[in-house]
Assembly symmetry: C2
Homo-oligomer: 340 residues x 2
DNA sequence: ATGAAAGCGCTAACAG
DNA sequence: CTGTTAGCGCTTTCAT
């Protein structure tokens, strides 16, 4: 068992109060006393007990970050960026994954974050805000890309519509006309233009870009991978080619999907971008070093992380502050996958 | 503020003891009582306080995982695999990054894991085991790839020597003769063959493979990127080409390095594998979907994670068990980057 | 079957 | 400048 302040008190002859003060650097303690205490603490390999401290103080200076899957580049880069953003502000980040299942999301919200951590940054999945609210009560939480607009939590959106609009407009401006949007099934514009979930906003961004360029966009302009993964996209692309669908560009609703698409095109001997241009969304590192380097609507991870951190810390410090909703920004990174 | 068991006790008229029993499913409580308590708990949105529980019990069922950088594929995939391995065993995983700096490593060890978590899986960085021991005391910890052999902690090694040996032997067996090992500076065999750090074991694996094939391996067969990153490897490869070094294969000490190398070769119009074959180490997903798909000595992440988890849980349950050292296994994944 | 009470380790009034 | 003490929320003897 690790040493406690009581052990140090015993060893030095001071009270636990004085030891605590000394260890926390309270200027009231005589320097000499403080030195003795610190010496004893070092000698006994004293390590403060976070549970006790957090129980007493009601805070731990720990923030939980729940991403979809730690192994997915978007999640991984986001978790990294949030850790980096919060470190200088005195918070340590604990990252967890929900693996897209509602039960894991519940666990994350219920079991621990909510109890030990001062707040949570939560990448939205299956659970709806109302369901989450029942679990988290008044604990500070910020949602990334909530599946529906909410005034229950501060929330931040990735720039799905505008990012996709910019990327698809770029494809159209380079002369592409037969675009396949890879990621989600076609739904009529009227049914989705006011939805805020990731799939819908990205799809409407694509539709708006086509419409503004006078290019038709219908069910034949979409393809649906089983999942937004490299394999899912690879298989979906192969199916597309087997069906004989004709297209001169694939706009992928995520960079991961784009990597799978390019893999499939390579395997079929289709030149990128000469035969088919490919572009994505997210701005993950893997796109930069893909072959060819992937054009993408790149979310600014650092600023996104900073925004999430700002909102959460504000909520922690000012629980009654008005709920805010923000949208992250992006940069259209034009690389060789669309540039001839 | 969240409801406590005292609130439930007040609401139901039972004592906090009974409430606690009921909530934990103690069979002694009358079913009717338990039902009432659970009802009140739900109504009050009760959430147990992890700090209090952990303070009382001396354990939290949380394991800390400290990786180098959450955004790096190897770290990310490992953290993912460990989370998956520990979930069914009743442990939640908190992932953190050390960013290769000793001070962050200290923070991770000192500030929190060590205090709130029941144990730590630690990817070795700057700190030496003795230094770590001073901080962690008797808290359960398992090291991945310690920089030097240690009997202070259970430890697991990635199969650096054997994996590289297999991969380089494969390169040689396909007729390659002028191999550049990209990742670490040349050091004479005698000076490193008994070291156990990642760089040394991988380099000796390469040397042994060459020697056994009767191929010379000297300082000219190595190249050193500034870091084991895509950019570092890209730049190092460009320098190599600018210098006019001749080679027909690059063996990269990590897959991430390999991706940077292939990027540079593409940019210079060098065909892979026709002009130069490329192979790596790790087995990250990105290698599978790279162009061309990367041959690599693939660590079995799931089994590595299971081994780390096994050792840590054993240490938690049996603190005095003898220290163990294990080595993970690998599979040589031969893909197009070396196959003509 | 339920309750009273102690105590995990720590911090912060408050007192001296 | 230092000590006494209460109590954060929980679990668990030990009584009843």
């Amino acid at each position: 068992m690790s040493a406690t302040i009581a052990d140090i008190a015993k060893a030095t002859g001071y009270s636990t109060a004085t030891v605590s003060y000394a260890l926390r650097g309270n200027p009231q303690v005589k320097p000499e006393t403080a030195a003795k205490v610190r010496e004893a603490a070092a000698r006994l390999h004293y390590q403060g007990n976070a549970s006790a401290r957090s129980l007493r103080l009601g805070r731990s200076n720990v923030i939980a970050v729940a991403v979809h899957d730690l192994a997915l580049p978007f999640s991984a880069e986001l978790a990294h960026a949030i850790s980096v953003a919060l470190a200088p502000r005195g918070y340590q980040v604990f990252a967890q994954q929900t693996l897209f299942t509602g039960s894991n999301e519940e666990t994350v919200l219920r079991e621990l974050d909510h109890q030990f951590c001062d707040g949570t940054i939560f990448c939205s999945g299956e659970l709806k805000p109302e369901q989450m609210k029942k679990i988290t009560g008044s604990k500070p939480l910020v949602i990334l890309d909530p599946s529906q607009p909410t005034d229950l939590y501060d929330s931040v959106y990735t720039p799905g519509h505008d990012g996709v609009y910019a990327a698809v407009s770029h494809l159209l401006s380079t002369g592409r006309r037969r675009i396949v949007a890879m990621g989600v099934a076609y739904r009529p514009y009227e049914r989705i233009h006011d939805l805020t979930d990731v799939s819908s906003t990205r799809l409407t961004g694509c539709m708006d870009a086509c419409r503004d360029a006078g290019v038709a966009f219908g069910p034949d302009n979409t393809a649906v991978p089983a999942q937004w993964t490299v394999e899912g996209a690879y298989d979906a692309t192969m199916r597309l080619l087997d069906e004989g669908r004709e297209f001169d560009a694939v706009y992928c609703l995520s960079d991961t999907v784009a990597i799978g698409v390019m893999h499939a095109l390579h395997d079929r001997g289709i030149a990128i971008p000469d035969d088919v241009a490919v572009a994505g969304f997210d701005g993950i590192e893997a796109g930069r070093s893909a072959f060819p380097p992937l054009t993408t609507a790149a979310v600014d991870f650092d600023r996104l992380a900073a925004t999430l951190a700002d909102l959460l810390l504000r909520r922690i410090e000012t629980p009654d502050a008005p709920i805010e909703t923000r949208t992250a920004n992006f940069t259209l990174e034009v690389r060789s996958s669309t540039r001839q």
